[in-house]
């Protein structure tokens, strides 16, 4: 059986090469693509991102990627969002005026005043529920964060992990076929690579 094909959405927002290298280190095969057809055909989709919500949404719109990403999520195939790839799933953001993808009810909010922003560095993720991709990762493990805004989903049952920085925010969310994390597993050493490896394993099983 051929290895599963994972697509990484390329829309000029962030370090997609390191995501690809992390997937390869996890035993998977990933294609960096901005082509809607390639996304439609992929077995799994990784949606990374860095920078500002507004400019990223405009990139997605101009590249005709909004509908393919929403269609992929609705198809039930495994989906992994990273950093902005979590925030863009929500309806809107305090950061700008463009609406998000809106596949998850809630807003993206600014980290509280008085904290150094960006929230940059290694912080703990407290796991609220179990997930196969996070299997074996100890509660309270440290992952690498760099962001100024955070996802605030309305439905708290999707909150998979929380992190404290001026407040407790949702640092990982999961429902159905979707897993999305605020931190950067591809920059979080061995534990981060484990997340990609277990994502690859999940994709191969599905």
């Amino acid at each position: 059986m051929a290895a599963s094909k994972i697509a990484i959405v390329d829309y000029q927002a962030g370090n997609v090469r390191s995501v690809q290298k992390a997937i390869e280190a996890g035993g998977g095969r990933a294609e960096i693509t901005g082509d809607p057809d390639s996304i439609d055909r992929a077995d799994a989709l990784v949606f990374p991102g860095q920078g500002a919500c507004d400019s990223s949404m405009r990139q997605l719109i101009s590249r005709n990627l909004v509908e393919p990403i929403k269609r992929f999520i609705a198809s039930g195939r495994p989906f992994l969002g990273v950093c902005l790839g979590l925030q863009l799933l929500l309806e809107d953001s305090e950061e700008g005026s463009e609406p998000g993808l809106g596949v998850l009810s809630g807003r993206v909010r600014r980290l509280p005043a008085g904290m150094r922003v960006p929230h940059m560095g290694w912080n703990e993720v407290r796991l609220q529920i179990e997930h196969p991709v996070l299997a074996g990762i100890p509660d309270g493990s440290y992952f690498y964060f760099v962001h100024s805004y955070y996802a605030d989903p309305e439905d708290k049952s999707v909150v998979l992990g929380t992190t404290s920085y001026g407040l407790d925010f949702c640092s990982a969310a999961a429902w159905d076929n979707v897993l999305a994390v605020q931190f950067h597993p591809e920059k979080s050493g061995d534990l981060g690579l484990r997340i990609y490896r277990q994502f690859v394993e999940l994709v191969d099983r599905s």
Binding site: G14, N15, R17, S18, K21, A22, A25, Q50, G51, A52, S55, R116, V117, P118, H119, M120, G121, W122, N123, E124, Y142, Y144, F145, V146, H147, S148, S164, Y165, H184, E186, K187, S188, G189, D190, G192, L193
Partner: protein, 262 residues
């Protein structure tokens, strides 16, 4: 809780890591890829690479170094040295850098900070700030120096504390504060400089220049109020491992990410 970061810094000249005292007298310290992998195993929270190659083919050599490091080291990488345009930044980021550090080019063209932040996000743009104390009576002051790759650099009329604040307003997401008086001395960071800048910006501050032992790092993040401590010599010459430095900070009550094997 967000941890205090310990960051080994690797000066790279023609593809090799070197370490000098006060920016001069560079000695060979090793292969950048091997050293990056070693520091990663020891629990480094990030790595910083400065390209100090003077020759015209510098960019190609550094892109190759960054790309090879990013193949095997999965922690954040900052790259600086000679980056002058958004296109230069883009090349480094595509090679595998997560952040780019600019110093001289930012002083000469402050808008480069904004253009970089617009393209890649604030989190990608690090201000490298080389500061030298101005000897005078009264409260301490520091002057920004540029073109510091080769020697003690050129003077500017910029006040270091004011420049850090301005760069943050322009869109820098982090500032590496390097004391040229302390660099390579192993006598400790310039804590007054660190505190002055930490109190004037709300972006993360990285202490650089002067680390001789983990106690100095402790002082940088407590008295100096820095978020991270960068060091070169003490790690390159194995005076301390990164893990030992972090254990010291943890033993003294600071939050650090546990080393992978501890």
């Amino acid at each position: 809780m967000l941890t205090k970061r310990v960051i080994p810094c690797l000066d790279v000249k023609a593809g090799r890591v070197v370490k000098g005292v006060r920016f001069l007298d560079h000695r060979d310290a090793g292969d950048p890829v091997e050293m990056a992998a070693l520091y990663n195993r020891q629990g480094a929270d990030e790595l910083v690479f400065y390209d100090i190659t003077a020759s015209a083919d510098r960019r190609g050599i550094m892109l190759d170094v960054v790309s090879r490091v990013a193949e095997q080291v999965f922690i954040p990488l900052t790259v600086g040295g000679g980056l002058r345009t958004v296109a230069d930044m883009q090349q480094m980021l595509q090679a595998g850098a997560d952040k780019v550090s600019i110093n001289t080019a930012a002083v000469e063209d402050p808008d480069l900070i904004s253009r970089g932040a617009d393209h890649f996000g604030n989190q990608c743009i690090v201000l490298g700030l080389d500061a030298m104390r101005i000897s005078s009576d009264g409260p301490p002051r520091w002057e920004v120096r540029v073109r510091t790759g080769r020697d003690s650099g050129d003077r500017t009329s910029l006040d270091a504390v004011e420049w850090a604040a301005r760069a943050a307003e322009l869109g820098a997401g982090e500032v590496v504060v390097n004391s040229m008086d302390s660099d390579g001395t192993l006598d400790g960071y310039d804590l007054e400089l660190l505190r002055a800048i930490s109190e004037s910006v709300t972006i993360p501050v990285v202490a650089s220049g002067g680390a001789g032992n983990p106690q100095h790092m402790f002082e940088a993040v407590t008295e100096g109020q820095a978020d991270a401590a960068l060091a070169a010599s003490i790690f390159h010459y194995s005076t301390y491992t990164v893990g030992e430095a972090k254990d010291f900070l943890a033993d003294h009550g600071l939050p650090v990410r546990p080393s992978p094997r501890s």
